[in-house]
């Protein structure tokens, strides 16, 4: 097991790694199949320290916050290290959010520095939200075209201070990152992650899925996502491994990267994994009958021989063409961000490609349980990682109850939200809001959510309340957005949908005009935030004294109705 006990912060551990592996390659960057960059740990350090000095010269000090909004690329990681070197707190934000959402989170986080890419800055600088986030004093922009007006931002490439920056130590309990687990609209949920959280998570994860010098991790999930931050940056760097970045995520270039770089691990969201499955299945279906029969026989042999544990050399031999298409060195596909259907996991395992399926949430420091593959189980999310205490609260007759977690990886709380934090972390236990039970072998199985939210197959968390803004001013008496499974618990983690509940004015009818108005507002939402159905409620919503909807009560009332009959198409 990796021993990180001597380190008190991410910065300290990374600093040591850069000294330990100077000649090893830490980053490869490829654009449309062409390798653009290859950076060693020494070169990484040589790029990051002048930036750290620039930050310090500009007044950035210990505990200050700096945000990164970038696609996956070397400058993301170089900037993050410079921030940690200065003792700063990193605020990684999703580059896919809209500019106004990004400004809202920048304001909420209190970041004084923003590091971003030119195409993103072009949108951000034009957004009205900029005026709101006056806390962002300095902006660094990478890859700006020459002689471009950067709207008071500084070119990242020229942000280089003279002389050595002073390394600023941090303690394990200090804040390392503020990670937003969902978009905006309702309450921004900024998870305050400590240095200790990451160090502990790194030890736990690498105990099952180790990294080593010479291995290559393909970074596809956005680096602001807790999974890629851990397995696409911190984990591999601590162990002297390399990370491969692609500047485009078109399927054809992703496929090519596997063979070109002989990838060892990759993390994917379920949507991409399913897409990969579809592509492979189509190719298998095209095989001539004779070859198809042979392939099926080899696959069944592989399945029988790897029943108890993966035997990669054997699988690579038996199903050579499949493994060759993945570069021949793939140890496992890590899947995360959302629930993955068992049949997809089984499909890959039968081909001798283990899928490290697990369960986690940002609040718990990424992974809580992971499939240890001994034996592989497609029907569970695995066993708790070392150092994780997991218990089921108030189990029903079937043993199903809320999953709660206690561990050194659990966040310190939500930024500026003491009440929400107190509801979420009770006596040191994180209430996940997910329903589950343990089977006889100690594997966790999930059965839906207690929370009024959905997680899409792309790994996007969408809280129902966050979507309500889109329907503001709708000509109805009152309305509310719910996750359908929150009203009608289905004990399922797939096919989650949002619904809009409307209460019409007295005498008002649900007309085609109103339906069109809802549809028009719905289509203005980003695709994964859209509602899938409408429920017309005939009675007043239960309200608090301050006229807020009592969602729990309303959901209970609606839950008594028949789901299939109540939801009208949106």
């Amino acid at each position: 097991m990796l021993d990180l006990s001597k380190y008190s912060s991410i910065g300290e551990a990374l600093r040591d790694a850069l000294e330990t592996w100077p000649r090893e390659v830490c980053l490869y960057e490829s654009d449309r199949g062409e390798q653009k960059q290859r950076i060693t740990y020494r070169e990484f350090k040589d790029s990051a320290l002048p930036l750290a000095k620039w930050l310090q010269d500009s007044g950035f000090k210990s505990g200050d916050r700096a945000s990164i909004i970038m696609t996956n690329q070397s400058k993301w990681l170089i900037s993050a290290y410079a921030i940690f070197f200065c003792g700063g707190t990193l605020v990684p934000l999703d580059y896919k959010l809209k500019p106004d959402e990004q400004w809202t989170l920048l304001k909420h986080s209190g970041a004084s520095v923003l590091i971003t890419e030119y195409p993103i800055w072009r949108q951000l600088s034009l957004s009205a939200g900029r005026a709101e986030a006056a806390n962002v004093a300095s902006v660094l922009v990478t890859e700006a075209p020459p002689q471009t007006d950067l709207a008071r931002a500084v070119e990242w490439e020229s942000a280089s201070g003279d002389g050595q920056p002073a390394y600023v130590p941090r303690k394990r309990e200090d804040l390392a990152c503020i990670v937003y687990s969902s978009g905006t609209g309702g309450t921004p949920k900024g998870c305050m992650m400590t240095h200790g959280n990451y160090l502990e998570q790194c030890v736990a994860l690498t105990s099952l899925y180790p990294f080593w010098p010479g291995m290559k991790y393909l970074s596809i999930l956005p680096t602001n996502h807790a999974i890629d931050f851990m397995v696409g940056f911190f984990g591999p760097f601590i162990c002297g491994a390399a990370v491969v970045h692609l500047r485009t995520l078109r399927p054809e270039f992703v496929r090519e990267a596997f063979t070109k770089y002989q990838i060892t691990y990759v993390s994917l969201v379920p949507l991409v994994l399913k897409n990969l499955q579809k592509g492979l299945q189509a190719r298998f279906d095209e095989l001539p009958t004779g070859k198809r029969r042979l392939f099926e026989r080899l696959k069944s042999w592989n399945k029988a021989l790897t029943k108890n544990r993966p035997v990669l050399p054997l699988s690579r031999l038996l199903l050579k063409p499949v493994h060759a298409a993945f570069g021949g060195k793939l140890e496992a596909i890590i899947v995360g961000g959302a629930f993955t259907e068992p049949q997809t996991l089984q499909f890959f395992y039968d081909l001798g490609i283990p899928v490290a399926n697990g369960y986690g949430l940002t609040e718990a420091g990424t992974a809580v349980t992971v499939n240890d593959l001994r034996p592989f189980r497609a029907d569970t999310v695995g066993k708790p990682l070392p150092g994780m205490e997991v218990r089921i609260l108030n189990p029903d007759m079937d043993g199903i109850g809320q999953v709660s977690v206690r561990s050194k990886t659990v966040m310190a709380g939500y930024l500026n939200e003491p009440e929400l934090t107190a509801q979420t972390i009770v006596d040191g236990w994180l209430m996940t809001g997910d329903m589950g039970r343990f089977d006889a072998a100690g594997h966790l199985q999930l059965f839906g959510r207690k929370k009024n939210m959905i997680v899409t197959e792309e790994g996007k968390n969408v809280y129902a309340e966050d979507v309500e803004q889109a329907f503001e001013g709708l000509p109805v008496k009152e309305y509310c957005v719910f996750a359908a499974n929150y009203i009608w618990p289905s004990r399922s983690m797939v096919g989650e949908q949002l619904i809009l509940v409307i209460h019409l004015e007295h005498g008002q009818a649900f007309t085609e005009e109103l339906r069109k108005e809802i549809a028009a507002r719905n289509s203005r939402l980003i695709n994964y935030k859209r509602i899938h159905g409408i429920v017309v409620c005939n009675e007043d919503f239960p309200l608090t004294a301050s006229l807020k909807i009592i969602r729990v009560e309303l959901a209970e009332r609606l839950g008594k109705l028949e789901r299939s009959q109540e939801i009208l198409p949106a």
């Binding site: 696609t71 580059y95 896919k96 809209k98 890419e117 195409p119 993103i120 500047r247 485009t248 995520l249 078109r250 399927p251 054809e252 949507l271 991409v272 897409n275 197959e457 792309e458 289509s523 980003i526 695709n527 859209r530």
Partner: protein
Amino acid sequence: MRTLEQTTQEILELATKHFKAAPGSLHANDDFYKKLGIDSLQTLELLSRLENHFQIELPDYEVQGVSDFKTLAERVQSRL
């Protein structure tokens, strides 16, 4: 040089072919996620097809937040 209308029309034809939609069923203001029932990954596939057709480079970020053919056509047009 193509006009924006021509570009839009060609994109609609390419999308119809790529996603096997009924001829004439796609329109400039259509939300392609909704109309075609596709996901973000499939949109990236369409981008590659557009690049080959128009002989341009269209970085992934150009389609961030774009969900209708008209805006997509404007992005393509600006690179022609």
